[in-house]
Amino acid sequence: MAKDLQNFAEDAALLTAYANGDPDAARDLAHRIVPRILGYATRILGDRAEAEDIAQEVMLRLWRAAPTWRAGEAQVSTWAYRVAVNLCTDRLRAKKRRRSDALDDVAEPEDGRIAAVDCMIEADRHAALTRALADLPDRQRQAVVLRHIEGLANPEIAAILQVGVEAVESLIARGKRALTAALAARRTELGYEEA
């Protein structure tokens, strides 16, 4: 917790330095924020190129917000996640409008680290989870990913999604129920032994 607070303060200090014309602050702040946003967008969209666009757009908005940034009102990382969530939501809606064959369009994870999993069945399981996540309603997927994969606390997720903490808990619970059902339907295929 103390480390989180320190990180938040460092992010805010770097953003202030950037706004004051420090040429190195942008690089330092980008190295702190971009990997997280890129990872989140990749997991939500399942498309690395689109995720890179999202990360670039989030950072551009952050640079533009820097001169009027008021430290203490929002945490930089929370703000960045919130923008990323909104941009991902827009992309997903646009995708859904275009998409005719939903399941076939869900990309396998392009993250090489997942593909490099030695055991093929583990790779299948992660692919199944990715696909099940992709089938969740947008808000549920975002809540589950932020909570269980990004590891954020519920109050921070509530700030990002701009809902109450109870609503976050509800979204996560419903999302996990849907994921459980989706994986249970492929239980044998994924190599899980029957209980």
């Binding site: 971009v34 990997p35 990360a55 551009l60 680290r113 992660h126």
Partner: protein
């Protein structure tokens, strides 16, 4: 479901490792940052306050320059001199031009009595 929790935990462990950011993406982001970064404002140099004008400088400016002011002063002095001294030569010229009638006999502002008398 433990299987789900296990899978999510494994994904979280993967996510905890920093995702490599392609150099090209970072270059684009930093180019954006440089493009929109506010430029430090140099200290504003305040223009020196205009020197306070003296009375004669102010008068000179008002009348269009020292030469014009000197001319006006000369003419004013000449007028006062002529009015006070009334040199004989100038008086004879005035009488010759105005004839015998004295200037003070001219009625530049006639009263309205004559107009009222017509009724």
């Amino acid at each position: 479901m433990n299987n789900l929790d296990d899978l999510l935990a494994q994904q979280a462990a993967i996510a905890a490792q920093p995702m490599p950011v392609p150099d090209a993406l970072m270059a684009r982001i930093l180019a954006d940052a440089a493009r929109v970064q506010p430029r430090p404002q140099p200290f504003a140099v305040r223009a020196p306050a205009p020197a306070k004008l003296t009375f004669w400088q102010a008068m000179s400016d008002m009348f269009g320059g020292a030469g014009v002011l000197a001319g006006l002063a000369t003419v004013a002095c000449a007028g006062i001199y002529l009015g006070a001294v009334q040199p004989a030569a100038l008086t004879s010229v005035t009488l010759a031009l105005a004839g015998s009638s004295a200037v003070d006999q001219l009625d530049f502002m006639p009263s309205i009595d004559s107009l009222l008398a017509e009724e």
